[in-house]
């Protein structure tokens, strides 16, 4: 069944481009339904007892076409995030992308990107993963630049060049794995690496993978493209990029490769810890100095992604479960913050926080939801972000990385600092005279803001009731 998640988007893209008169008009609705269907589908899969968690699943279509895809909890979390982000992007895009033809292209590209992301998540073959990675990446380049602002084009080009370099690193690593194991499927590679001790080519391959995925995921010190891309992309595309694209391209792949292909050797942990803590601290530090709403959020993303890396570095157990949960939480609260920035930008026409003030009375929903998102991002209980950070910190502490845990905890104060500064500069304070006529954002933006805030609160409140077994099964991955 899961291969439908790749085929249906493909089918829909083809369908809406057919030269039937009315079909173009229903493109938006179809994409919307697709996103909704994916959310429902993953939720069903997660909660049905019929489907055993964390096991590979052979597929009907897969048997027919003879390919293999795999589903475990990590996959399901990612699939859910993809559906959710797509939904929110579409809702926001409705308000922001007004031109009919542009919106049509926008929807098409989103659906293509979705097929790519689903493919990455489901792939059980490192090269297939690469192909779908490129699909999502190509769709993102076009999405960033589709309104053709010069800065957006520049950001897209920068992203393209760095991403291509990352692809080459990844391809070289794949070649090295083929040299060692003779195949590209996860199962065979992982078996080969377990039989032999790996040796130098494997370590080299791992290094190449880590660098490549770090570029794709915007992890310090490979983050150069990310602030530009997030800032200059059209508002809904920023949501999509920050919400899911970089996460799937950089983090999911990293988690998969590290856990499935290489197990948990100590030297991987060391590398990941260094990169993670650098991202956490410097991302937060850079965010503190920004004036542009979206640029601050972009640096904040780098910082939050660092926590996920730290969780991964702890290895299976609570750290990894926390990392996976943080992927979900980060999708929710960062998308929400970008939705808020879209609302502010469309209503006031500026992203410069020095020109904004006192919007809380004019935009109460935006203001309230942004508080929820900020507090969740900073890890303030009882919101969702608290629990994932708590798990990661406990994981770090138990794995003996105490200094890193302390730094990570202290960095969350910087996080709270810059998020409060958003609140202070944008939403509190005295309303300027030129902002007196600002109104609350309309339909789609409101709905997505409320939806995401509800999830952030709901996950946070429901977390204590999650059975411990489910939490443990989160971190047991296919082949890992």
């Amino acid at each position: 069944m899961f291969s439908l998640l790749i085929f249906v988007p493909l089918f829909i893209v083809m369908l809406i481009n057919m030269p039937f008169g009315g079909i173009r008009k229903s493109a938006y609705i179809l994409a919307f339904l697709l996103a909704l269907a994916q959310i429902v589908f993953t939720l069903l899969a997660f909660f049905t007892p019929l489907s055993p968690l964390s096991s590979g699943r052979q597929d009907i279509l897969g048997n027919f076409f003879n390919f293999r895809i795999g589903v475990d909890n990590l996959t399901l979390v990612l699939l859910f995030c993809i559906g959710l982000t797509l939904l929110v992007t579409l809702l926001t895009g409705r308000e922001v992308v007004v031109d009919q033809r542009q919106r049509f292209n926008f929807v098409n590209l989103l659906v293509i990107a979705m097929a790519g992301l689903n493919g990455i998540v489901l792939a059980q073959d490192i090269f297939t993963m690469y192909v779908f990675l490129e699909i999502a990446a190509v769709a993102s380049y076009i999405l960033i630049s589709f309104q053709k602002g010069i800065l957006a084009l520049e950001a897209a080009f920068k992203y393209l060049i760095l991403s291509a370099a990352a692809s080459v690193l990844m391809l070289s690593a794949i070649a090295l794995l083929v040299l060692v194991s003779g195949d590209t499927s996860f199962a065979i590679i992982s078996q080969a690496l377990r039989d032999g001790s790996g040796g130098f080519p494997v370590k080299l391959a791992l290094g190449l993978f880590v660098c490549g995925f770090a570029i794709k995921g915007g992890i310090i010190p490979f983050h150069g493209w990310l602030p530009d891309a997030y800032t200059e992309a059209p508002a809904p595309v920023s949501i999509f990029l920050a919400g899911i694209v970089t996460k799937t391209l950089g983090l999911y792949t990293l988690i998969r490769v590290v856990t499935v292909l290489f197990g948990q050797a100590a030297y991987i942990s060391q590398i990941l810890l260094v990169m993670g803590i650098l991202s956490v601290v410097f991302g937060a530090w850079m965010a503190l100095t920004q004036n542009d709403f979206k640029r601050m959020l972009a640096y904040s993303s780098i910082s939050q992604v660092g926590y996920i890396i730290l969780g991964l570095a702890c290895g299976p157990g609570w750290g990894l479960a926390g990392a996976i949960l943080h992927i979900l939480n980060h999708t929710v609260f960062k998308s929400l913050l970008f939705v808020n920035s879209a609302a502010v930008e469309t209503k006031t026409g500026t992203r410069n926080m020095d020109q904004l003030a006192g919007l809380s009375d004019r935009m109460p929903v935006t203001s309230f939801t942004s508080i929820i998102a900020s507090l969740s991002a900073a890890g303030v209980p009882p919101l969702a972000g608290f629990w994932s950070k708590l798990l990661i910190i406990i994981g770090l502490w138990q794995a003996g990385f105490k200094l890193v845990a302390v730094i990570a905890v202290l960095a969350s104060i910087i996080t709270l600092g810059y998020l409060l500064s958003i609140q202070r500069r944008v939403f509190w304070g005295k309303l300027g005279s030129e902002l007196l006529n600002v109104k609350e954002a309309k339909g789609g933006i409101m709905i997505s803001a409320v939806l995401l805030a509800a999830i952030a609160i709901g996950v946070g409140l429901a977390f204590p009731f999650i059975p411990a077994a489910m939490l443990n099964s989160l971190s047991s991955l296919l082949g890992g």
């Binding site: 192909v131 800065l151 070289s172």
Partner: protein, 112 residues
């Protein structure tokens, strides 16, 4: 795997690495967007060669070929999109030079 072929891996690899270095150097040093793209192409050449080489050594030429064919398709699409972005940038600035872009950005910042 064909163990007899293993010794040829490293000499080939040296050439692959040299081409990689040329490509990266080109990307880092040039100010011209098109030339940066050519650098990326060179990187792709190196990766292609490495894949084929590995396939040859391990005796999995069929696998390597199918990977490379897919890779070439991907490569073409990326290049087309990149060329489109360059042309768009050109239609804004009448230049394909990164320095002109940076100037524009500074101006934009001071205006803001």
């Amino acid at each position: 795997m064909n163990s007899a072929l293993l010794p040829m891996f490293w000499p080939f690899c040296i050439f692959v690495l040299m081409i990689l270095v040329i490509g990266f150097y080109c990307i880092l040093v040039t100010y011209n967007l098109i030339r940066a793209l050519i650098g990326v192409e060179l990187l792709m050449k190196a990766a292609t060669l490495l894949l084929i080489l590995v396939g040859y050594i391990t005796g999995q030429t069929a696998l390597a070929q199918s990977l490379v064919i897919t890779l070439i398709v991907v490569e073409v699409v990326v290049m087309v999109v990149a060329a489109g972005i360059i042309l768009r940038i050109y239609s804004h600035t009448d230049s394909v030079d990164v320095r002109d872009l940076l100037k524009l950005k500074d101006k934009d910042k001071t205006n803001a």
